[in-house]
């Protein structure tokens, strides 16, 4: 199911205001300096659509950095209650890479055979309005991951907006949820013409061409070496010298979902929460005996890359774990352990 509409550019705030009546709208907001991040807006005027990509993906709204799981209380015996967040939310102007990452979460955290009910509770009420990219941003490589700069129908969005350059956005509606979003302010939308669709295709092609001709990451070559474990141990060791074990690459990654679970208790009332963890931390795998199967930072750097791009995980999860947003490149204090840089080193078997 897919249909194309168009929306007058000047009127998107009216649409957002209509959406706010039934859901929290999560949209890019300009913060201090050049910083742009997702925020729950109170008014459409807070939204900026002049951004390359947000500092962090909207992951936190589906998988927060700290998330309550259960409350328990001792009153004679124990009573345990799960804590769910089912608030309806619309992610407005989310980039295609981040849409793909939500799809990845649907396959993994939300996997139907063993769904994470905290994720599915949040996800069920969440609609995605994507904003296709005309320009690659500084460190992204979605073209290599096939997750952008535009998404095809079935790509995971409910509605995809394309700035047609003139007076209009094209709005491709792909799901029932998308239809409901349109219905919130149906008077703002009109059917798109064939010319509009041709324009969209031209814009997509033009956008793809703006990516560097030398792809930032040849997934095929590096993923083969990672899957077969044929990259030299020394290569990982040399890379790890640039790793400060901050965990930033995993925290900022729209598809990373390692977590730790802890209890906190005060006056007999307890809360079990989960918090983001990271495969870059030594404590993730350290066993009670003191044995650590990944004792060195190089083991942990390797682990991250394996989970992101190995065939084994693609086969297991049904989708590659890297969506090419390039945030890991920008977040790295060592500056060199973004996936494109690491992937290239693996492919070339050298690290300068």
């Amino acid at each position: 199911m897919s249909r194309a509409l168009k929306l007058q550019k000047s009127r998107w705030p009216e649409w957002v205001a209509a959406l706010q009546r039934t859901a929290a709208v999560i949209a890019p907001v300009r913060l201090h300096g050049e910083d742009v991040a997702f925020e729950r807006i109170t008014s459409p005027s807070e939204i900026t659509l002049d951004f390359d990509n947000t500092a962090d993906p909207p992951k936190r709204f589906l998988f927060p950095q700290v998330e309550p799981l259960l409350r328990y209380r001792r009153n004679g015996g124990y009573a345990v209650e799960p804590v769910y967040d089912e608030e309806p939310r619309v992610f407005f102007a989310i980039r295609c890479c981040d849409v793909s990452a939500v799809r990845f979460f649907d396959f993994t955290l939300g996997a139907q055979d063993l769904p994470d009910s905290y994720y599915t509770a949040r996800r069920a009420g969440t609609a995605l309005i994507a904003l296709a990219c005309h320009e690659p941003c500084q460190s992204c490589f979605c073209v290599c991951a096939d997750t952008g700069p535009f998404l095809p129908p079935g790509g995971g969005y409910d509605i995809q907006l394309t700035d047609l350059g003139g007076e209009h956005y094209l709005a491709e509606v792909d799901t029932d949820k998308g239809e409901a979003l349109v219905a919130a302010a149906a008077e703002l939308f009109a059917p798109a013409s064939d010319d509009d669709l041709a324009q969209r295709r031209a814009l997509e092609e033009a956008s793809e061409k703006r990516f560097p001709s030398e792809p930032r990451l040849y997934f095929a070559a590096s993923s083969r070496k990672v899957s077969l474990d044929t990259a030299e141990a020394e290569l990982w060791q040399r890379m790890a010298r640039w790793c400060v074990a901050c965990g930033g690459c995993t925290h900022i990654c729209p598809t990373c979902y390692c977590f730790n679970v802890t209890d906190a208790q005060r006056n007999g009332d307890g809360l079990r929460s989960r918090r983001w963890d990271s495969c870059q931390y030594a404590g993730l795998t350290r066993e009670a005996s003191g044995h650590n199967p990944r004792p060195e930072q190089s083991d942990r750097v390797k682990r991250r890359v394996f989970h992101k791009i190995s065939y084994q995980y693609v086969a297991r999860d049904g989708m590659q774990g890297c969506v090419g947003c390039g945030r890991c490149t920008r977040i790295c204090p060592g500056l060199r352990l973004g996936l494109p840089e690491v992937g290239e080193a693996i492919r070339r078997a050298e690290w300068k």
Partner: protein, 665 residues
């Protein structure tokens, strides 16, 4: 989810981050993408900066010790008790914190000087920095970073001394990574190999205790290679001749012999540093807490002055602090004999200005620093400082504190010091109050309130104001900003800084008499002689040299990291692996002695013995043993006593010769 911009509460890098707030709770952090130091990055601590704030063990109400146990009481009762028993004048001491905001520290300083009438004022981490900061002042006239940190990324040569920057002050390390990725050459000088040494062009690993000799060798090599530029020096040529004569004993051959570092390598390091125009020098705890800190800091200040690596972008000297507001605490006058901005309490002009503004008489300078206060005052008021946990000799600090008539502790958590208190007052954390902090490169930045404090906890400045009111003062600060206005009006270096100015950009650099703004312009510098302590010697019976490694303390014992689930897990791995405490030894030595990782070993010196578990590491030189600083109590008997010539009672131990054997089970 709201995003509240604030400065990171951990180290002196001064990163900015957004606190994520939902329903009045902190739910995470996001680094600022465009802050000049953060550049979109954070270290592991920054990524968990929200955690300790919402820890269930936060102090939530005032408590008073009654019959040996803490009882919850009202603010009224707690503050009345404190006001009634604290005392005045020379009998009372006041200790602030490099973790609290400038406004908190300033008001505490004012409480001491203006209400309590005492010059017994300090903050917890200052004593261990007295030696190196005084040495910098002697040569440079200032004791702070000369240049903004972000400029480091543009340096061509960076010399790193005694600093394990990656774990300690990660974002400054990140700037070093950025420089190296750009092609900069790194010179690393440390007796224990650090992570950044892996990327070094030249890595110099001197024997324990010979670091000052090595730095003199570096000075000598710069002089010998004609890489000096005297334009910043004063015109006292006799003094310069004397300096050169003093250096002449440090022939590179003799330095090689004493330090174990090849003369060639020293020459190369000297050439790299001296030849490049954009050359910067960084040092951290490994130097600051060294028994010869004064000699080393003097040598580095001399090096910078002698080569004119000052006043331009990407050069200068960076003394780095592990606490987010170390520089600010110093600037707020939390030091005996000093008012804010380094103004002397002894100066008539300064006194008059403060007395007029404050409407009180200031006490005469007494110059009692924290170590002197312990054992020297009857009551102690402590804000945000774990004196016991941070003391060079925790056992002695505990005894001194137990001897007090009254200890009041204003804190976030029940720290080892708070446990000894008579009154504990719950304070707001950084995320629960407004204010400012001044990071290691003198950048003053805003702290912004994101959430309410837990229970009845209050901002430090509010507590101080309440107490001052009960002691007869009638202060009327309605916000941190009101205190800031007073700071700016009384402190020339902060004079032109307003909250509006801080809010508009990414903070502001305070100025000094030596130049306004972000880069200090120093002139008329006079080189100071470097007095190297005699190198430690081993003998046949005690063939190993053992030292405490301040860098290895990292964050393992900090209340904020210990109350953060992920951080505690990461920082306690070594403690979990080696429950009896560990000593690091080179694998070759272990093989020779037939010892293995995890073995319990007995260390014996001429003074005493200690038992620890062995951790093998090729980061230490053969015949060298290193014990992390937080285990200093375990090995104190080995040292026999503090190093000679220590400043103001702050204990530092010189490396000591020991024997090693497997412990009897």
């Amino acid at each position: 989810m709201a995003n509240v911009l604030t400065a990171c509460p951990f180290c002196g890098s001064g990163c900015n981050l957004y606190l994520k707030v939902e329903d009045g709770q902190l739910t995470g952090v996001l680094p600022s993408s465009s802050h000049p130091t953060s550049r979109g990055k954070l270290c592991i601590r920054g990524w968990h900066a929200h955690e300790f704030v919402s820890h269930p063990e936060r102090l939530r109400s005032p408590m008073v010790r009654k019959g040996g146990k803490f009882e919850r009481v009202s603010w009224e009762e707690a503050l009345s008790l404190v006001a009634g028993r604290l005392g005045r004048g020379a009998d009372v001491g006041v200790v602030g914190s490099a973790r609290c905001a400038n406004e908190d520290n300033f008001l505490l300083m004012k409480l001491a000087r203006c209400v309590l009438g005492t010059d017994n004022v300090d903050f917890s981490s200052r004593p261990q920095r007295i030696a190196d900061l005084a040495a910098l002042s002697s040569t440079l006239g200032v004791n702070c970073a000369t240049n903004p940190a972000p400029e480091l990324a543009g340096a061509d040569v960076i010399v790193l001394v005694g600093a394990d920057l990656v774990p300690e002050i990660t974002m400054i390390a990140s700037l070093v990574y950025e420089a190296v990725a750009r092609g900069a050459k790194l010179v690393v000088i440390s007796p224990v190999r650090t992570e950044l040494a892996e990327l070094a062009e030249v890595s110099l690993q001197p024997r324990l205790g010979t670091e000052p000799v090595l730095l003199c060798g570096l000075l000598k090599s710069v002089v010998d290679q004609g890489l000096i530029d005297s334009s910043l020096l004063d015109r006292d040529w006799d003094a310069y001749d004397q300096f050169a004569t003093d250096l002449s004993q440090f022939t590179l051959d003799s330095v090689e012999q004493r330090t174990g570092v090849a003369a060639d390598a020293i020459t190369r390091a000297g050439r790299l540093y001296g030849e490049a125009r954009r050359s910067a020098v960084l040092y951290s705890s490994g130097l600051a807490q060294h028994p010869a800190a004064a000699a080393m800091a003097t040598a580095l200040a001399d090096l910078v002055a002698l080569t004119n690596h000052l006043g331009q972008p990407s050069m200068g000297l960076y003394p780095l602090a592990r606490q987010n507001n170390f520089q600010g605490a110093l600037d707020m006058g939390l030091a005996p004999g000093m008012l804010s901005g380094g103004q002397s309490l002894g100066s008539a002009e300064v006194r008059q200005r403060f007395e007029q503004a404050w409407g009180c008489r200031l006490p005469e300078p007494a110059c009692k620093s924290l170590p002197d206060m312990l054992g020297g005052v009857k009551s102690l008021y402590v804000m945000g400082a774990d004196i016991v946990g941070g003391a060079a000799d925790p056992a002695q600090a505990r005894r001194d504190i137990e001897a007090l008539d009254l200890l009041v502790v204003q804190e976030l958590f029940m720290t080892p010091t708070a446990e000894l208190a008579d009154v504990v007052l719950p304070a707001a954390a950084y995320a629960e109050k407004d204010g400012t902090a001044t990071c290691a490169d003198r950048r003053v930045q805003r702290l912004r309130k994101a959430v309410d404090p837990p229970g009845e906890a209050r901002a430090d400045w509010q507590i101080i104001q309440e107490l001052a009111g009960r002691l007869g003062a009638s202060w009327r600060y309605d916000s941190a900003g009101a205190i800031w206005a007073e700071i700016a009006s009384l402190t020339p270096s902060y004079a032109d800084i307003t909250y509006d100015k801080l809010d508009a950009g990414w903070g502001a650099y305070w100025s000094s008499a030596n130049g306004a703004g972000e880069r200090l312009q120093l002139k008329g510098l006079s080189l100071q002689p470097v007095e190297c302590p005699p190198p430690p010697v081993t003998d046949a019976e005690h063939p190993f040299l053992l030292a405490l490694d301040p860098a290895a303390e990292r964050w393992t014992t900090d209340a904020t990291t210990l109350h953060s689930d992920n951080l505690r897990r990461e920082y306690q791995i070594a403690a979990a692996d080696f429950p009896a405490g560990h000593v690091e030894m080179h694998p070759d030595d272990a093989q020779e002695l037939q010892l293995r990782q995890g073995f319990r070993v007995k260390l014996a010196s001429a003074h005493g013995e200690a038992e620890l578990q062995l951790k093998l590491s090729s980061d230490v030189l053969p015949r060298t043993l290193v014990v992390p600083y937080h285990l200093r109590d375990t090995v104190r008997d080995l040292f026999g006593g503090p190093a000679p010539g220590q400043v103001e009672g702050h204990l530092v131990y010189s490396p000591v010769a020991v024997s090693v054997a497997a412990a009897q089970r």
